[in-house]
């Protein structure tokens, strides 16, 4: 039985096209990724890269948001939230890291290709890459993190952090400077970066799109991480990088809130999909593992069943939240500032709830599976590492809560 059918995902039925896409992705997940997992594990060449190519290029996912006139699929309306939630559930079930790559790529595109913020110049500039190149195109984001020293320029902070880079306007060009930039994902493979910059002479955040091949963009050696093998990361240095003004996709808080809302929706869907996979692994284990002392199956013992039930309850709750968030975002509220703020707060709350509960649930599933949960062979440990790693890329929950406090209590200077 398809485990997705166990949980009502929303009141009204999904669109026909979404159902078809979901089925395609499900087939891809099972034949191209999950079936090959035991043999290839997390091998880049043999498993991850081919799978990414199919997803991004063959299934046209990377051009989802591009208007048709640029060769895209043209789903660049907020209603695409339903499509994103349903499809990334499937991708996340196959491989959390691949889902993460797509979620970020999608979020970056949403900052210039949506009907409410359509940036014709940039679409024209990037269409060849996304719609006609025939090769997978990965987008990455560079957002503010902790400072490793107190920067001189850090008088202007953004949500308590200093900007990863600074941009200077020169005619219709911008010159971008920054060092030790830590991209959210795929620093080594990304084709373009959306970098949050401080524009000289402005105190507004601006997202600048920088193609990876730009002169002056330097990459450090790859980093090793706990999980998300599909996202090979590194640090960036921006040395007098030059882009045209059209590459500034937004200025100010509203664009920021819209960007985060899409990013959070995508990461939520990937996490729910990964949790589905963990649930399936646990279910199979529970149906076969005998508790000898009790001569009963794991699933039939009240204590182990109660832990298994908690895993499924977390999954159910998380999925309801995911699709409720999708419905809210599809409601076009994002377009007006007041609503955008409110929705981005809901998105932050939802993605935090989902990633935290997934961490808890997979931890519990591993407990029940004992050493099998720890052995690579059973795959559960990979979802455990991947989901946790993705959660960390949301930023610290303690500090994200400062945004919630600002919204719900008008807290200041947090």
């Amino acid at each position: 039985m398809d485990c997705f059918n166990l949980i009502p995902c929303s009141a009204d039925q999904p669109h026909e096209s979404d159902i078809l896409l979901t089925q395609t992705l499900k087939r891809w997940a099972e034949t191209e990724v999950m079936a090959k997992r035991l043999e290839f594990r997390e091998d880049q060449e043999l498993l991850i890269k081919p799978a990414i190519h199919q997803l991004f290029v063959d299934f046209e996912m990377q051009k989802l948001l591009f208007p048709e006139e640029y060769g895209g699929v043209g789903l660049n309306r907020p209603e695409v939230a339903y499509t994103l939630a349903l499809s990334l559930e499937q991708v996340g079930r196959a491989d959390t890291g691949i889902g993460f790559l797509f979620a970020v790529t999608f979020a970056l595109c949403s900052s210039f290709a949506m009907d409410y913020n359509l940036n014709e110049n940039l679409c024209r500039q990037l269409a060849p890459l996304f719609c006609h190149s025939g090769r997978r195109t990965i987008g990455s984001l560079v957002l503010p993190g902790y400072d490793s020293e107190i920067k001189p320029g850090s008088r202007t902070l953004f949500h308590g952090r200093s900007y990863p880079a600074r941009a200077k306007q020169l005619g219709d060009k911008l010159i971008i400077e920054g060092s030790n930039l830590q991209p959210l994902n795929a620093g080594c493979d990304a084709d373009l970066f959306g970098v949050l910059c401080l524009l000289e002479g402005s105190d507004k955040p601006a997202l600048v799109v920088i193609p990876a091949e730009s002169r002056g963009l330097h990459r450090s050696a790859p980093q090793t991480r706990t999980g998300l093998a599909a996202s090979v990361n590194c640090e960036l240095k921006l040395d007098q990088v030059e882009v045209v003004e059209a590459n500034v996709v937004f200025r100010g808080e509203t664009g920021w809130q819209q960007l985060l809302s899409w990013l959070y929706l995508g990461m939520s869907a990937v996490t729910v999909g990964s949790l589905f996979a963990a649930y399936e692994i646990l279910r199979e284990w529970g149906e076969n593992r005998v508790i000898k002392g009790k001569n009963s199956l794991l699933k039939d013992n009240p204590l182990t069943a109660s832990v298994m039930a908690e895993v499924s309850q977390e999954l159910l709750i998380d999925r309801l939240l995911l699709h409720q968030l999708a419905a809210i975002m599809a409601g076009r509220g994002l377009e007006e500032p007041a609503q955008a703020k409110k929705i981005s707060i809901a998105a932050l709350s939802v993605v935090s709830q989902i990633t935290n509960s997934a961490e808890k649930a997979i931890n519990q599933a591993m407990e029940l599976m004992g050493s099998a949960g720890y052995a690579t062979e059973w795959n559960l440990e990979r979802y455990w590492r991947d989901v946790k790693t993705m959660q960390l890329h949301l930023g610290s929950w303690e500090l994200n809560k400062m945004d919630l406090a600002g919204f719900f209590y008008r807290s200041a200077n947090l």
Binding site: D147, Q223, G293, K388, L392
Partner: protein, 422 residues
């Protein structure tokens, strides 16, 4: 400047050798392990980096000899009144550097406990086995071959199963045991084991405690086969694999304590297993404290070091709190094992159960706490360079092994509430 030594230990319970050997092992950790450990994950098969560190610790420093009587080249911990507190400190210091090494190190003593500890010291076997550990400067590993296919940690579910599910058999032929069976996952298997303590039965399916047998089998004996190590989420320094025993023959006196006593004293091994688990958690948490303190003093938010942010400090406080508590519990339990005259026999149901109580508490808290600390570090929490994610991955198996949380809960309920059917 505050250090990990500011975390409380019950002064009265600390062993006489604590200070001296604690310092030695900490120095070993700081010099030999901590600088290299982040490269251990790729070394999980060859142990090119790991083996030399083990040789220094166990062979050269000689920690693999501690249990044996002095006249056999050991340190006599086995018959001391501070085996618990002394070994706790040693395992804690090793775990601070690498939980996997601590597990491999600590588990080496499990089979030896059966023959080195009073009141069940087995002089003849000690004489036979001591040289393997005491007359070399190479690290020598022993393993408890316990878990079996489709068994999980059932075998450790002693009170209920009484060994009835054990598939590995020992048949007495003349003055030799003939052993047949298949074991999974023993720590220190996967090729590196020199000596197995094999949990087996002299009559398959029997619940007669006299049929439960613990028999020593040198790994180089004909019929013993060790499979390749499994690939795991972490704990590269600890190899686990399949072990097959086919018509393996050992002298009849290789049985540790004999009918009835094998079962009885094997529960003491479980007590020490839980003590070790708590030490591994405590040591890892002490190092997490060191790392996060450094991180929060060198990373900034709103132009202040992270540790000066009240919200983040709340997480830091909880980490210190749990570390403090787990360490106190560890020493309390160590004391309970050191002084059976005050607290009861090490193999008694009460002491075994209470060990499980502290162990599952320690593991639950540590996994949750380190998860929060990683979250506080944001993306750096998953960055190999900070070594936190390593502790997180390594400790998880300490939580899973020896039956995991649910078995601990059932034994706890059974003892405190006198349940009959759990």
């Amino acid at each position: 400047m505050r250090t990990i030594d500011d975390f409380t230990r019950p002064r009265e319970f600390v062993s006489p050798i604590d200070d001296y050997f604690g310092k030695i092992v900490r120095q070993w950790a700081d010099e030999e392990v901590i600088p290299n450990r982040r490269r251990y994950d790729e070394d999980w098969q060859e142990h090119l980096l790991i083996e030399p560190a083990f040789d220094r610790l166990m062979g050269k420093l000689g920690l693999q000899r501690v249990l044996f009587p002095e006249d056999l080249g050991g340190w006599g911990l086995g018959h001391s009144h501070y085996i618990g507190s002394a070994s706790f400190r040693l395992m804690e210091e090793v775990a601070r550097a690498d939980t996997g090494m601590a597990v491999a190190f600590g588990v080496t003593f499990w089979p030896l406990i059966m023959i080195c500890n009073e009141p069940h010291l087995n002089r003849r076997l000690c004489e036979e086995i001591a040289p393997i550990f005491c007359q070399t400067e190479k690290a020598v590993f022993a393993a408890n071959a316990m878990t079996e296919p489709q068994g999980g940690a059932d075998i450790e579910n002693m009170e209920i199963l009484k060994g009835s599910t054990i598939q590995t058999t020992a048949r007495l032929e003349g003055d030799e045991w003939v052993i047949n069976g298949h074991k999974l996952w023993p720590t220190n298997s996967g090729g590196i084991c020199s000596l197995f303590g094999v949990v087996c039965t002299t009559r398959a399916g029997s619940t007669d405690l006299n049929d439960f047998a613990f028999i020593f089998v040198p790994a180089n004996h004909p019929g013993v086969t060790q499979g390749a190590p499994y690939q795991k989420a972490g704990m590269a320094a600890d190899k686990n694999g399949d072990v097959w025993f086919e018509q393996v023959r050992v002298p009849s006196y290789y049985r540790a304590c004999g009918p009835g006593d094998d079962f009885k004293y094997f529960k003491e091994v479980i007590s020490f297993g839980n003590l070790g688990s708590i030490a591994f958690v405590s040591g890892a948490l002490l190092n997490v404290y060191e790392i996060i303190k450094n991180f929060c003093e060198t990373r900034y938010y709103r132009n202040l070091p992270l540790k000066e942010n009240d919200a983040l400090a709340g997480i830091l406080a909880d980490l210190a709190r749990d570390t403090e508590i787990i360490r106190i519990l560890g020493y309390q339990y160590a004391r309970m094992l050191d002084r059976p005259d005050l607290y009861g026999k090490r193999w008694s149901e009460e002491i075994v159960t209470k060990g499980r109580v502290y162990k599952y508490f320690a593991c639950d808290r540590a996994i949750e706490m380190i998860g929060k600390v990683m979250n506080l570090m944001e993306a750096s929490g998953s960055d190999r360079r900070w070594d936190i994610e390593k502790h997180w991955r390594d400790l998880k198996i300490v939580q899973l092994w020896m039956g995991g949380k649910q078995l601990c809960q059932m034994e706890t309920a059974r003892w405190f509430y006198e349940c009959d059917t759990l």
